[in-house]
Amino acid sequence: MEHPLVVMEGIEKSFPGVQALKQGRFELRSGEVHALCGENGAGKSTLMKILAGIYPKDAGRVMVGGEEVTLSSPGAALKRGISIIHQELNLMPHLTVAQNIFIGREPTRGLRFWLDEQELNARTAALFERMHLKLDPQAIVGDLTIAMQQMVEIAKALSYNARVLIMDEPTAALTDTEIADLFTLIRQLRTHGTGIVHISHRLEELKQIADRVTVMRDGQYIDTLPIAEASIERIIRLMVGRTIYEERPSRPNLGETAPLLEVRGLSRGRAVQNVSFTLRRGEIVGISGLIGAGRTELARLIFGADRKERGEIVIAGRTVNINRPSDAVRHGIGYLSEDRKHFGLATGLNVEVNIAMAAFQKFLAPLGVVRQSAVEGNAIRHVRDLAIKTPSLQQEVRFLSGGNQQKVVIGKWLTADTEILIFDEPTRGIDVGAKAEIYKLMNELAARGKAILMISSELPEILRMSHRILVMCEGRLTGELRSDEATQERIMAFATQREAVL
C-alpha cells in the first residue's frame, strides 16, 4: 500500500506555562482535504507549525512520504513540499503583491543576483489567472484590504506547488463568493494529488470540502472520521466534550424610542458614499455586504479612525465632533477591530493590561498610580466570563491562540463599558463554543440597553443576531431589512446591487 503523505505521531510541545500538545497525532493522505477541528487553544496551529518547520517538537515523529524527517526551518519544510498559510497574516506591507508571493525564490538572471522583475510579475499574473483573482501583481500589499491580503497569502502558498498545503483558517476573512472560489481551487489541487489540511471554525464549510475530519481537544488527539460519519453535532461533541446549548435570541420590541446614534450622509471617497442610518438602545443592527463594500471603512469613520469628508454623527440628539478615536471613546463609542493584531491589541503586553487598556483611568488612584489589584480583579472577571484560555493573567497576548486573542479584545471594550459598541467580525476565528458565548454576551449587552452595530460576513450570523439588517454595496447603503423579513437571498440581492455601469 502507498504511504500516507504525512504521518505525525506522539508529538509533544510545551511553551513556558502551557503544554500545547500531548501525544498529538495526525495523518494526511495524498489527494484528500483533511479538516482539523478543535476549540480555541486546542493546539491545531501548533501542530501544523511543527509540520511546517516553524516550531521544533519536544518529542514524537514526523514522516513525509514514509520517511522520517527533521523539519528544522520553514525553508526545510518548503523543500519537502510543505507550505502553510498562516492564521495571522505574514506579509511585507511595503512590497508589491508579486514581490511578496515570490519572496525567497525570485526569478533571477545571470549569477542568480539580478532580479527578473518582468518574469516575476508575469508568473504572478498567471497564478492569479488560474485562481480567477483580479488583482494587480504590482499593487502594494499595505494598500490592500485584509481580505485581499488573505488572498495574496493563499496565492503565495499555492505558488509553491506544494504536495502538502496547510491552511490555518484561510476563510476567516473571506466572504462567501471568495470562499467558493477558494474551494474550487482546492478541489483542483486535490485531483492533482495534493494533500490539504484545512483548519476552520466554520463547521458548515466542512461538508462542502473535507474528506476526513480530525478533532483535537486540549492538545490531544481525539478522533479521525470520514466526512460521511461526521455530522456537525458529532464534531462539536468531540470538540468540546459536551453539548452546546444554543439560545434563540428574542427580539425586543423597541417601539418608537429615540435613536442613540444617528449617522447622516457620511462620506469618504468611493469607500463610503452618503450613508445614513439610526441605531437605538437595546438594538443590534447587522451590517452585511461583500468584501470591499465599505463596511469596515464606515465603522472607522464613525470611530474617528479615518477622517470623514462629509456627513454628521448625532449621539443622543446632539451633533458630535469625532476626529479621532479618543473623541469616539469619550462620546461612548467602542470599536472592536477586525484586524486585532494591528489595531485591537498590544500583543507584547499581558492579558490584564490589554483588558484594562481602553479604560485605564478607571484603575488609577490619586497621582496617577495604577491600582494593580483593580486591574487584576477586572481581568479575572472577564477571563472567567469570556472563558479566555490563558495560563495566567501575566501571559503576553501574542502567545494566546487566535480565538483567545479576540476574546481579550472583547474583554477590553466591556471594561471600557461604552454605550455604543461596533463589533467588526466579532467571531472571526472563534470556535463554536466561544461563538455561542459571544452571541449570548451581545444579547445581554443589548438587553442592558447598549446599542450594538455588528459587521459580519457570515450570513447565518447576521440573520441570527440582528434585529435589523443594513446591506452595503460599493460604499453605498443598498438596503435595510427587518429581521423577520430578511433571508439570505434578499440580503445577497442588496449586496450585489451595483450601480449601473454607464
Binding site: H94, G104, W114, G142, L144, R270
Partner: protein, 330 residues
C-alpha cells in the same frame, strides 16, 4: 467578481515614497532659489564646485547607510569606519608603498570588514544595531588613532592618489568645466547603489527585512546571511568614503570622522528613508545629501554662525520625519 479598485484601501496618486521625494526635491529647488536671490556669490562656479565636493563624502556615506536603514536597522559607525579606512589606505600606500590601486582596494575592504563585524554581531549575537554599531564607532575610532600613531598620514609620495578625488576627468573633456572626480564618483556610486537596491536579490531582501523580517524568515529567506551582507555593503561604502576623503585632503586624519554619521543618516531620512524600515530610495538620499550641503553652504555665505547652522539642520531633520508621518497617517 471584485473590481480591482475596491481591493485597494487608499489610492495614492503617486507610489508611496515618491511624495516624500517630490517634497524633498521641491525643498531643494526652494533652497537654491532663496540662496541665489539672497547672495550673488551662491551661484558662482567655485561655490557650486564647493557644494558638490562637500556633498561627495557625506553622500557616499549616506548611500551606504540607506541600506541598513531600509532593513530597519541603523549604523552609527559609518563616520569613524570611514576614518579607519582612510588610515588603512594611508598605511598601505605611504607606509607599505603598495601601488595606489591596491591601497585603495585595501581601504575599501577595511571598511567592508568593519561592516562585516557589525553584521555578525547584529545577526548572530542578536545585539541591537544601535548598540552594536555604537560599539563599532568607538572601536574604529580607537583603531584609527592607534594605527596612525595619533598623527596624520600624508600621501605626498603618490601624487596620483590625490587625483582620484581632485583631478577632473570632465575638465579634460570639456575645458573649463573643472568638476572634481569626487563628484563623478558620488554619482557613479549612486547609480550602482540604485541598481543594487532596485534590481538585485540583495536589494529585494533589504526591503523585505525592513518591512517584515518574520514574514521573510517564514518564507525561507536566510535572514541572518542577508543582514550580514547589508551591513558589509554599508561598511564598503564607508570604505569608499574614506578613500575619497583621504584623497581629497591628501592625507588620512585619524581624529576626523565622528559626526559624519549623523549628517549621512539625516540625508537619508530627509530623502524619505523610513527609520522604521521598509522604505527608502537612492534618489531620495542623494537629494537629502544635497539639501544638507546646500543649506550649510548657503547659511555660511549668509554669515549665519556655525552653531546656528547646526540648529537649523537639526530642525530640518525633525521636520522631514514629521512630514513623512503626516503623509502616512492620512
Amino acid at each position: 467578481m471584485i473590481e480591482p479598485a475596491t481591493n485597494v484601501k487608499r489610492s495614492n496618486l503617486l507610489p508611496s515614497g515618491a511624495i516624500q521625494q517630490v517634497l524633498a526635491f521641491g525643498a531643494l529647488i526652494v533652497l537654491v532659489v532663496v540662496f541665489s536671490l539672497a547672495s550673488p556669490n551662491f551661484l558662482q562656479f567655485n561655490n557650486i564646485v564647493g557644494i558638490l565636493l562637500a556633498t561627495a563624502v557625506n553622500g557616499i556615506l549616506a548611500l551606504g547607510v540607506t541600506f541598513v536603514i531600509i532593513t530597519g536597522g541603523i549604523d552609527l559607525s559609518i563616520g569613524t569606519v570611514m576614518t579607519f579606512a582612510a588610515v588603512m589606505t594611508g598605511v598601505f600606500i605611504t607606509n607599505w608603498g603598495l601601488p595606489v590601486w591596491l591601497g585603495v582596494l585595501g581601504g575599501v575592504l577595511s571598511g567592508a570588514a568593519a561592516g562585516l563585524v557589525n553584521g555578525l554581531v547584529i545577526a548572530k549575537l542578536h545585539i541591537p544595531p544601535f548598540i552594536a554599531t555604537l560599539g563599532m564607532l568607538n572601536v574604529a575610532k580607537g583603531l584609527a588613532l592607534v594605527i596612525a600613531e595619533l598623527r596624520p598620514i600624508y600621501f605626498n609620495d603618490d601624487p596620483a592618489f590625490n587625483q582620484i578625488a581632485m583631478g577632473s576627468l570632465l575638465g579634460m573633456i570639456v575645458p573649463g568645466f573643472e568638476i572634481p572626480n569626487a563628484v563623478l564618483i558620488l554619482f557613479g556610486l549612486a547609480f550602482v547603489a540604485s541598481l543594487i537596491l532596485g534590481r538585485t536579490v540583495l536589494g529585494r531582501y533589504t526591503y523585505a527585512l525592513g518591512s517584515n523580517e518574520e514574514a521573510a524568515r517564514l518564507s525561507g529567506v536566510n535572514v541572518a546571511v542577508w543582514k550580514i551582507a547589508v551591513y558589509t555593503l554599508t561598511g564598503a561604502f564607508s570604505g569608499l568614503a574614506g578613500v575619497v576623503i583621504a584623497s581629497r585632503i591628501n592625507s588620512a586624519q585619524p581624529a576626523l570622522g565622528q559626526g559624519y554619521e549623523l549628517d549621512a543618516i539625516a540625508a537619508a531620512v530627509i530623502g524619505g528613508t523610513s527609520l522604521s524600515g521598509g522604505k527608502g530610495t537612492i534618489l531620495g538620499t542623494i537629494i537629502g545629501a544635497f539639501i544638507i550641503s546646500i543649506l550649510t553652504n548657503g547659511l555660511r555665505i549668509l554669515s549665519v554662525p556655525q552653531e546656528w547652522q547646526t540648529v537649523i539642520t537639526g530642525a530640518i531633520v525633525v521636520l522631514a520625519v514629521y512630514l513623512d508621518l503626516v503623509r502616512r497617517k492620512r
